[in-house]
């Protein structure tokens, strides 16, 4: 403030000199100094300082709402506000830190697209290489064929997806840290980022980076299962690859058009939202599950689990059909 106030006064009436590289300025001229301090220090500091009061205001407004909605007989909203009050209670940004790295890191998702493409490629050959050489029929006659093989394939696929994803997330994180030269903000709370002002979880930025990586990976595994299921229907990789690509773009399109939307169900139902999970953690949103408020990220994870189960079930059913034709190994099927 000792630096900022004089600058503010000098620029207030817009008559200060614009001489280039003055001796007493940090940057080119006094206006640039003013803007630099204003946008990079004063405004973020003000936000950090005001946050405690704001969070307190939110919590008390939510508490007021609990009683209000109870008197209205709206149990769901009352429970929802209780959850909000609990979430915002005691929130404060205690130390000011340089968060620019995280600001960019949470917005970056091109690597996820890359990882998805690689998984699409990798998963195409999981079931198809054997089909191409008609080895699948032969495999079913083997002791460890059938269910055991399929299980092993699924495990290997999941492992592959996780490896690829974590490699990418690690490289991203390292690259961003290197570019911005700091990770000092790792212990700051997530809501230190202004677009996460209503963050739906109380974690630190460092924890969020880890959590986000896990959730992203989960999203990609679910989409990967979809690719596997699609590939089960075909005998070579051509058409499943195209359908997989088409479906991916469909999911991205849906996720983009529902981004920031208040229709939380629409957001949560799309497994791709796990990949761009800032959408889930940016805002405390709830969906109603039998009258109880369920945070949007829980809903999205549940939906993703359902999708995953559906895809797994689909794979199991398709494999069964194959096994049946090859001479019926009922116990193997039950295992699946």
């Amino acid at each position: 403030m000792a630096i900022y106030r004089p600058l503010e006064q000098r620029t207030a009436d817009l008559t200060a000199s614009t001489t280039y590289r003055n001796a007493d300025t940090y940057l080119a001229n006094v206006y640039e100094d003013f803007h630099f301090f204003r946008w990079c220090y004063v405004n973020p500091m003000k936000y950090a300082y005001d946050y405690e009061a704001y969070a307190h205001g939110v919590a008390s407004a939510a508490r007021d709402n609990i009683a209000f909605y109870e008197s209205m007989g709206n149990a769901y909203e009352s429970r929802k506000n209780a959850a909000i009050a609990e979430l915002f209670e005691g929130r404060a940004i205690t130390s000011f830190s340089y968060t620019e790295m995280y600001q960019h890191y949470v917005q970056y998702d091109f690597s996820a697209f890359l990882a998805l493409l690689i998984c699409l490629y990798g998963f195409m050959s999981v079931f198809l290489t054997e089909k191409e050489t008609e080895m699948d029929a032969l495999l079913l006659t083997a002791e460890a064929g059938g269910a055991a093989t399929v299980r092993a394939k699924l495990m290997a696929s999941a492992l592959f997806a996780c490896l690829v994803c974590f490699w990418f997330w690690l490289v991203d994180f390292a690259a961003f840290s290197a570019i911005f030269g700091s990770w000092e903000a790792a212990s700051s709370p997530l809501y230190a980022l202004e677009s996460f002002v209503h963050a739906s979880i109380n974690v630190s930025l460092g924890q969020y980076a880890a959590l986000s990586a896990v959730v992203k990976t989960a999203g990609i595994v679910v989409l990967g299962l979809a690719f596997l299921l699609i590939s089960c229907f075909f005998r070579n990789a051509l058409i499943p690859f195209i359908i997989g690509l088409f479906a991916t773009f469909g999911c991205v399109f849906m996720a983009e058009s529902s981004m920031g939307s208040g229709r939380v169900w629409l957001k949560a139902i799309n497994p791709f939202v796990l990949v761009v999970n800032r959408e889930l953690f940016r805002k405390a949103e709830f969906v109603s599950l039998l009258g109880y408020p369920l945070p949007s990220y829980m809903a999205a994870l549940l939906f993703a689990a359902v999708w995953g189960a559906v895809f797994l079930g689909g794979i199991a059913i398709f494999v069964r059909k194959n096994a049946w034709r090859q001479g019926g190994r009922r116990r193997v099927i039950m295992d699946l």
Partner: protein, 686 residues
């Protein structure tokens, strides 16, 4: 197919074609592609400047007069026309005042106002053409006046045709790839015809198919835009479109289209060659498809600068091609106080180098394919019948997932909306109004009529990054308000969404009934969904709204627009220089036009009638009557019965303004500026 014994060059071609189009279901995919892309064009194509489409006739009235190059005459025309319009506005206002004050006879008034109205009826069109004029004036040499939506739709974008990309992959990858699948290659080496000639034949067929498809697609797009918008004045310079405004290349619009098509053709052929090359070298579908899509999609989505992809040798730049015609573009960076490059022009030298390198690469790939002499074919006896069906099923599911469900049609009595009371509403239990006692915290509040209990209507405790507008609309127990959501990805807040929220006041449960994405520049993931600048501009100027079961009506600065609640389709319903008074009773919209007459617009039949014998600038609609300040009788309050059209006088004094609060009318007397209250019979109540 092993029956090809050699010597019959033509039959080789025929067999290959048969394989490509029938055995590998190429024909089905081609048909599917055309069906999908036509459907996508019909469903998703939005005009670049929707305002022009909404004001087509006033716009073309002016366009027809200035079409072509800029000249002294057009400049004079614009100056004259602008003066004429503003003069006409003043003159019409004066004539109206004179007439209603009794200083002018009706015949005289009609004689004066008729021509003036004719001038004013195209005012909106003039605004649109004037925008174009300001653009053209920057560089009059190569910017002409023309109707731009058609050409803009055809040329002004750098979208990659994703479906076409998939089609190429589907058609070209199996040309060689199919043979590797069944290990025919070893066998084929023993066949006489299976030498270089066969490979040439395959490549030739693939390239020919791709070329034909590419040209067909270009023709299809041209036809579509020709039919939907019209592609006139193809001989005007390319720079007439603002997308190419700073381009240094001299070309006409139609030439540019031909060049871009040629570029796309070249790009597609290179891409086909790349697929063939990859399939020959890598021998597996998965890796072939992966590497080819990666070559295209990664630079397309991954490069931060829009123009970088045109500097990369490879098929991508040519498959889009439009960027080769664009000029340098800059955007002001408010923090550094300097211009940032958004698009760097591709110079002719750069283009030549990129073209030469791409061509060399393609030729090299062609030679490699021939050297490897991959000359085998496949019998292919598998059942693919289900594939097409499944593809259809998946697409069908996707399509049905996108479609909405119809809203219930209820025809109940609706509460009356008045523009003058857009900040308040009253139902049986509550009164809602805007509480501006605290200027720091203006909010919409409700007041329980029995208990006098007060509270905010918007109960959401998380208020940051959201702005609630002070206009509400109510119908029965439901109250609606509108809000803007913001996001703050970096230093500045950007508006993200506009939404209309319904509050059921029985339980104060909120639900979203309409949403519109407004962010136009924030790049989300792949940037597939973007809002239109013109639409976003309108949503930011909405001052009030009302709605019925199917539609929302937004009151902007000088127009009322209708928006379909399900599809978000928007059109201009009413145009009026100044919105003075508007009311809505669930079916009819009443508003005051520029001649101070009340017009009744039927939203079901889209027809309007002028309510006779009323001259006013301010009215309020009640359930049975229209209360208005009578312009012809020195602003006294009159009431028109909606059923029998009987008019009665309520006050004997001139009134400045009034509002209706059932069952009383509150008014401000013009002479002493004091507030009075009276009942519906005109009796003062103290």
């Amino acid at each position: 197919m092993l029956g090809v014994k050699g010597g019959e060059g033509v039959s080789l071609w025929i067999y290959e074609m048969k394989k490509m189009f029938f055995h590998q279901k190429g024909l089905i995919f081609i048909v599917l592609y055309f069906v999908l892309s036509i459907a996508a064009m019909i469903l998703f194509d939005k005009p670049v400047n929707p305002d022009i489409e909404r004001n087509r006739s006033p716009y073309s009235f002016y366009l027809d007069q200035v079409r072509g190059p800029y000249s002294e005459t057009t400049e004079r025309f614009f100056a004259d026309e602008a003066r004429k319009i503003s003069d006409a506005k003043v003159a019409l206002q004066k004539a109206t005042d004179d007439y209603y004050d009794g200083n002018m006879e009706e015949n005289e008034f009609l004689a004066v106002s008729g021509p003036l109205e004719n001038i004013l009826q195209n005012e909106k069109g003039f605004k649109l053409i004037y925008d174009q004029y300001t653009y053209i004036r920057e560089n009059p040499g190569n910017r002409y006046f023309l109707y731009t939506n058609g050409w803009n739709g055809l040329l002004s974008h750098d979208k990659l045709d994703f479906l076409f990309l998939l089609l190429l992959l589907l058609l070209v990858a199996p040309v060689f790839g199919f043979e590797f699948d069944s290990k025919m290659d070893a066998l084929l080496l023993t066949v006489k015809q299976g030498a270089r000639r066969h490979a040439m034949c395959k490549i030739g067929l693939a390239l020919l198919t791709v070329a034909v498809l590419c040209l067909l697609t270009a023709g299809l797009r041209y036809t579509f835009y020709q039919l939907k918008y019209g592609l006139g004045n193809g001989d005007y310079p390319l720079q007439s479109l603002s997308y190419f405004g700073t381009s240094a290349k001299s070309s006409t619009l139609f030439e540019a289209f031909l060049w871009i098509t040629a570029g796309k053709l070249f790009g597609s052929l290179c891409f086909a060659m790349l697929i063939l090359f990859a399939s020959v070298c890598l021998k597996k579908y998965a890796i072939t498809l992966f590497s080819c899509t990666a070559v295209i999609l990664l630079p397309y989505y991954g490069l931060p600068l829009e123009s970088s992809k045109y500097f990369l040798p490879g098929p991508l730049g040519f498959m889009v091609s439009t960027g080769f015609f664009r000029g340098n573009e800059y955007k002001r960076n408010p923090f550094k106080d300097q211009m940032d490059v958004v698009f760097r022009e591709v110079s002719f030298t750069a283009w030549s180098i990129v073209f030469a390198v791409t061509l060399c690469l393609s030729v090299a790939m062609f030679i490699v394919i021939l050297i490897r002499r991959t000359n085998e074919w496949n019998v292919g006896k598998r059942s693919y019948g289900r594939r097409g069906f499944r593809l259809m099923l998946v697409l069908g599911l996707a399509a049905s997932g996108l479609s909405g469900c119809a809203s219930p049609d209820t025809n109940g009595q609706r509460d009356v909306y008045n523009y003058s009371s857009r900040q308040s509403f009253e139902n049986e239990r509550y009164r809602f109004y805007t509480d501006d006692t605290d200027p720091e915290n203006i909010r919409i509040v409700f007041e329980d009529k029995k208990t006098g209990e007060k509270g905010g209507l918007v109960r959401n405790p998380m208020t940051a990054l959201t702005r609630v507008e002070n206009a509400i609309y109510g119908n029965g127990t439901h109250v609606y308000y509108m809000k803007y959501d913001f996001d703050k990805p970096a230093f500045r807040e950007v508006v993200d969404r506009f939404s209309v929220v319904e509050v059921d006041t029985a339980t104060f449960q909120e639900s979203m009934i309409f949403e519109k994405k407004l962010s136009t520049d924030r790049s989300t993931m792949l940037g597939l969904v973007k809002a239109n600048d013109y639409d976003a501009g309108f949503y930011l100027t909405i001052s009030s709204f009302f709605l019925d079961d199917r539609s929302l009506y937004f009151i902007g600065q000088d127009e009322i627009r209708w928006v379909n609640r399900l599809t978000g389709k928007m059109s201009v319903l009413i145009r009026c220089p100044v919105i003075k008074s508007v009311a809505f009773d669930g079916r009819y919209i009443y508003y005051v036009n520029e001649k101070s007459r009340v017009v009744k617009y039927d939203t079901r039949t889209d027809s309007e009638t002028v309510v006779p014998d009323i001259v006013t600038d301010y009215f309020v609609l009640t359930d049975t009557e229209l209360l208005f300040l009578n312009r012809k009788d020195r602003q006294k309050i009159y009431a028109l019965h909606l059923g029998n059209a009987a008019i009665r006088k309520l006050t004997d004094k001139s009134v400045l303004t009034f509002h209706y609060d059932k069952p009383y009318i509150f008014y401000v007397n013009q002479s002493d500026l004091k507030n009075y209250r009276m009942d519906m019979d005109g009796q003062l109540v103290y």
